[in-house]
Amino acid sequence: MKILIVEDEKAIRESIVIYLTDERYLCEIAIDYLSALDKIELYEYDCILLDITLPDGSGLSLLKELKSTNRLDGVLIISARNAIDDRVEGLNLGADDYLTKPFHLSELSARVAAIIRRKQFKGNKDVQFNEINIDTFAKTVSINKTPIELTRREYDLILFFVSNKNRVVSKNAIAEHLWGDEMDAVDNFDFIYTHIKNLRKKLTDVGCKDYIHSIYGMGYKFSNQ
């Protein structure tokens, strides 16, 4: 999977590259409007992470350029401006999703995975992790073909974990993913524990291995080890 990261801020760019490369994505970078334009004219990407405010132009015009040539590359806008107008304009221009800075890398990774699923497999691609199968179209989960009944939050949680497998995901990131950034993340820390406890029980009840590892004080890691 090839991803283009258009971002002028070095530290953010680097962090994204490190995180996504570990997810086995092939990351390319563009640090400004012109180099981004060069790249998208030459290559196709599964997903393009697009910063709107670039030193020499707007990410939105890059998006227009892309869409005018009927390209199918998925586009995730990452912007410091969370103005609703920008969001609406970006999505109207054909962006697949919109993420406001600051964001968690785990959130970014989950969104990129969702975009690629939607784009490449028209949403029908099941997400598979060992014995766990997630049908993202029907929003159902089955373990070794045995369907299990999950609440919406539990479903969101397991998909988020699988999208960030083998990674430590902070409680803050989980809280923001499940409840949105309008609510104070700290309020919801206790509920994360409850939801995870329930999810873990539902999974192990049908013979699924316990992949959810608690990292003391920090968050959780979903992995086979």
């Binding site: 953010i12 609703i84 600051p102 964001f103 890398l105 409840w179 509920f191």
Partner: protein, 416 residues
């Protein structure tokens, strides 16, 4: 007192004094002229008597009429100086006392001195004077009335540009961004007032906007370093060799970044509301929105074992959806956060009022100040911006929002 009334009062007093003085002056002048005319006529008569006496050596026969009376009286007095005076006498025919003008003189006929008294009634003169005075009074009254009306109409018209400018200044509201307009006028004073007002409001607006732009830009600029911190923290926690102590520190840093992010977003939101960036409105089913929010907060409500009582009537409001969401979100969030364990929340929605009350301990803030920015009680972990944002939104829609603390209940009322 209004300028017009004050002006009218001074003007009327001055007019009345002037008319009184001129009226009295006029009266004296006219009466002087008329008396002079009577004197003249009396003197002519005397001359006639004198001429007759000189030619005929006899007194002119008395031919007393209503308009002229002549009396002769022998006298030893020899002073010949004619003497005018006013006398009153009861006239039987007229049955009233009549004022006469009389001329007394001495003439000599055949060596005898006679005192001649000629009288002419002043009735006509008096009548005439009265008429003149009456007419003058009528004219004066009419004149004053006319001027009063003209002034009223004219002054109102002349002051119109001023009144208009004044109403514009009164309506002027920085956050509502209404520009001041003025009416063109050819009156120099008003024109310079208009120019001064225009230039002042322009300057104020410009300053205000640059301040707002600054806040907005500063908030946006802060997002990037926050994003760097967040991303670096996300990478740091992947390290498997972190000690428990370090994890605690990292969690604190997450907390700080999170807090700063929310603070920044709230400030940006306030600025945007002030800048009227949420002007589009749509029909909002407030009752549905409240129900949705209660569900959204249900985890938190359950965890604190708070009971919720609702009495919600359907209500549709014309509002920006995002802003309506924020108002309800902040109010319910507050009712949960400033509640007691096992406490309760009551929400009632009627046609013109939303009331949210919750149990809670008394806060250390002045109830008048709860809607000000960064006003929060010592025990609160919030940002102190939630109610400021609610107030700002209510101001935009001219809703009234009130807070009170009665019987250990925090009560927020929104009156639409």
């Amino acid at each position: 007192m209004k300028l017009l009334s004050k002006y009218n009062r001074i003007y009327l007093t001055a007019s009345i004094i002037v008319f009184l003085i001129t009226g009295i002056g006029y009266y004296y002048v006219v009466s002087y002229v008329l008396i002079d005319q009577l004197n003249h006529s009396l003197k002519e008569e005397l001359n006639e008597i004198k001429t007759y006496a000189h030619l005929n050596n006899a007194l002119l026969p008395q031919a007393n009429t209503k308009n002229q009376l002549i009396y002769y009286k022998p006298t030893n007095n020899t002073i010949t100086k004619a003497k005018y005076s006013n006398v009153s006498e009861y006239v039987i025919e007229e049955k009233e006392i009549i004022q006469f003008r009389q001329l007394k003189s001495i003439i000599t006929v055949n060596g005898h001195n006679y005192e001649v008294i000629i009288r002419e009634p002043q009735t006509e003169t008096d009548d005439l004077l009265q008429l003149i005075f009456f007419i003058t009074f009528i004219i004066a009254a009419f004149f004053v009335l006319l001027l009063f009306i003209i002034n009223r109409l004219l002054l109102q018209k002349i002051w119109m540009p001023f009144q208009y400018t004044l109403s514009q200044i009164q309506r002027f509201n920085l956050s509502k961004q209404n520009e001041i307009t003025v009416q063109p006028t050819d009156i120099t004073e008003f024109e310079s007032l208009n120019n001064a007002v225009l230039s002042m409001s322009g300057k104020v607006n410009k300053e205000y906007h640059s301040l707002k732009d600054f806040t907005e830009n500063a908030s946006h600029e802060m997002q990037t370093p926050l994003a760097i911190l967040n991303a670096r923290l996300d990478l740091l926690i992947q390290n498997e060799n972190i000690s428990e102590k370090e994890i605690g520190q990292l969690q604190e840093m997450y907390g700080a970044v999170n807090r700063l992010t929310r603070l920044n977003k709230s400030l940006l939101l306030l600025t945007k509301i002030e800048n009227r960036q949420f002007s589009e409105s749509e029909s909002i089913q407030l009752d549905q929105l409240i129900d949705e929010k209660i569900i959204q907060f249900s985890d938190l409500i359950k965890a604190r074992n708070i009971s919720i009582e609702t009495d919600i009537q359907p209500l549709e409001l014309k509002m920006n959806h995002h802003l309506a969401d924020i108002v309800i979100n902040n109010l319910i969030s507050n009712a949960i956060h400033h509640n007691l364990k096992n406490g309760s929340i009551t929400i009632s929605l009627e046609q013109d009022e939303l009331m949210i009350s919750n149990t809670g301990s008394e806060v250390s803030i002045d109830p008048e100040k709860v809607f000000e920015r960064f006003q929060k009680s010592r025990q609160s972990e919030g940002l102190g911006l939630g109610l400021a944002i609610v107030k700002q939104i209510c101001d935009q829609y001219n809703f009234i929002v009130r807070y009170s603390f009665v019987d250990n209940l925090h009560i927020i009322r929104l009156i639409f």
